[in-house]
């Protein structure tokens, strides 16, 4: 069974600064996907970034980037130039290739301080 662990229940960062959210996972699969989702108070889950396990290059989406360490089963999210609109819950998630089901961590509440 897959497990996803987020050990930081809450984080805060000053506006315009950089913050890193941690995630570790456990799986025996060799081919899978990892995700970071954002959930603002409106509750709608929004995909922030995706990483394919077979790709060595870390994914980047504008201010968001990941540090994917496959051997260590670690998948952290770095948010650069933090903005007030980044305030939300952030969930790390795992999906086996071809399985189509997402497994989520418990989330990290991020607050961006003006």
């Amino acid at each position: 069974a897959q497990t996803v662990t987020q050990s930081q229940p809450e984080m805060s960062v000053q506006e315009a600064e950089t913050v890193t959210l941690s995630c570790t996972y456990d799986t025996s699969e060799s081919n899978y996907y990892l995700f970071w989702y954002k959930q603002p108070p409106s509750r709608q889950m929004i995909l922030v970034i995706r990483q394919e396990a077979y790709k060595q290059q870390n994914a980047t989406e504008n201010r968001f980037s990941v540090n994917f360490q496959k051997a260590a089963k670690s998948f952290s999210l770095k948010i650069s130039d933090s903005q007030l609109g980044d305030t939300a819950m952030y969930f790390c998630a795992f999906m086996s290739a071809g399985a189509n089901n997402l497994f989520f961590g418990t989330g990290t509440r991020l607050t961006v301080i003006p």
């Binding site: 509750r43 709608q44 889950m45 394919e52 969930f91 998630a93 071809g98 089901n101 418990t106 989330g107």
Partner: protein, 117 residues
């Protein structure tokens, strides 16, 4: 294009009462998911449909929960009777439908927040 639509957004009921949630996925999306998100937790899958067939309902508490997806479009999730522990946010998501080695993004609705008193 409209996203995943869910209703109601909020529901408050007394325990032992029935409740139903409705989801309309994005047009053309064959796969539909129902998740339950307890307070302070991540979403957990309850059931997944491929068109009108429930292909993964292993986490659905079948004694009180039921779901249907008639005609492979809209879906309804029902709880009867509701218990205090059912208080949670119920999220619906959809995607086009992934093949063996491909990935298609899941799009989520805004969820229904259920409070059981």
């Amino acid at each position: 294009e409209a996203g995943v639509v869910q209703s109601p957004r909020y529901k408050i009921i007394e325990k032992k009462q029935p409740v139903a949630f409705w989801c309309n996925p994005i047009s053309g999306h064959n796969t539909l998911y129902w998740y339950r998100q307890n307070l302070g937790q991540g979403p957990e899958l309850l059931i997944r449909y491929e068109n009108e067939e429930a292909v993964d309902d292993s986490q659905l508490p079948k004694d009180r929960f039921s779901a249907e997806r008639l005609k492979g479009v809209d879906s309804t999730l029902k709880i009867q009777p509701a218990e205090l522990g059912d208080s949670a946010v119920y999220l619906c998501a959809s995607n086009i439908g992934a093949g063996e080695s491909s990935y298609n993004e899941q799009f989520f609705g805004p969820g229904t927040r259920l409070t059981v008193l």
